[in-house]
Point group: D2
């Protein structure tokens, strides 16, 4: 399958939310969903990398699923507020790189 | 500028982490960073949409910056565990759509 | 039953962790547990107060359970780092009250 | 100073919120505040215990302050929903202890 661009991913989520989800939740509700998904990722990281490791059959695949759930919530928040993630990503990389140059020069 | 694919975004972050960040942190440390960024997003959502709204000059741009920071942490976690986010995203959309058909039929 | 003090609560958790839990986890692991519990609270708040409300039989009791789980994780973090929560709580109330006086004078 | 009970702590926070804070926020807003405070704790744990440790003058005291901030948000959520934290705490300890007996017998 062809590689998705960030913008295509935002469009796919928008189509799903409009057709299936019946529109976007409020920012606070999407945030709560994001927090729920981060919580499930935290649980899994303790299972996979904590003191009390558990034996899972497909651990990495499961972690991929949790990260995709986080990504979905982030995109919902972005879409509902008309944020272009590619632009935000580019700005961030510029900021990180500039900050770094300052730090190590 | 050309649109980035999810895989190009993962590669850009990998290049940055290898060259500037001196390698990936542990999953628990990246999780903590992710939680920090989600916390800053939460603070901003209360400022923008809470009872005690504050007047910010560039609120949406700032929220975009926070979401990009979350995205960066998610990609670090994915990269450090050899997770392909496009594949995880596709699986998630299939799961969400199937779950929905079940729910409304 | 007699009311517990914050210090008695810290001692009860310490006894449980030493006898049953076999000692404290690392700060990062306890943080991940805390994040997991906050995530479950977030899920419940969306159920109880979000757009897609669900009908639960004992919702408030369930929320109390989640808050107690958060409290447990916070106390584990405090105990493992020799932090006295009563002292920290007193300092916080002093800080909050001072900040407020500054704000409204 | 005399030791505070959990119930006294809930009352102190209630007095503060009614007199200074002008009433409780919505559950979603308090959750967002809780997430913000957990995020600051995560940042501090990376500083104190992560790969890139930083030298802080009063690190443990600072962590105590963050935990007190989390406690404050948890108590606001409890108070606003008429939850008695001591009762919730007792129920939790009973549940944890029962679960443990089951696990190791």
């Amino acid at each position: 399958m062809a590689d998705y661009t960030l913008r295509e991913v935002q469009e796919q989520v928008d189509t799903w939310v409009q057709e299936v989800g019946k529109g976007y939740w409020t920012p606070h509700e999407i945030l709560a969903r994001l927090v729920e998904e981060v919580g499930e990722t935290a649980r899994l990281i303790n299972h996979l990398h904590g003191t009390k490791k558990k034996k899972d059959s497909e651990p990495t695949q499961e972690l991929g699923g949790e990260l995709a759930d986080i990504l979905f919530a982030v995109i919902c928040l972005a879409n509902s507020q008309d944020i272009d993630l590619q632009e935000a990503f580019e700005q961030m990389m510029i900021k990180y790189t500039a900050r770094d140059k300052e730090r190590y020069k």
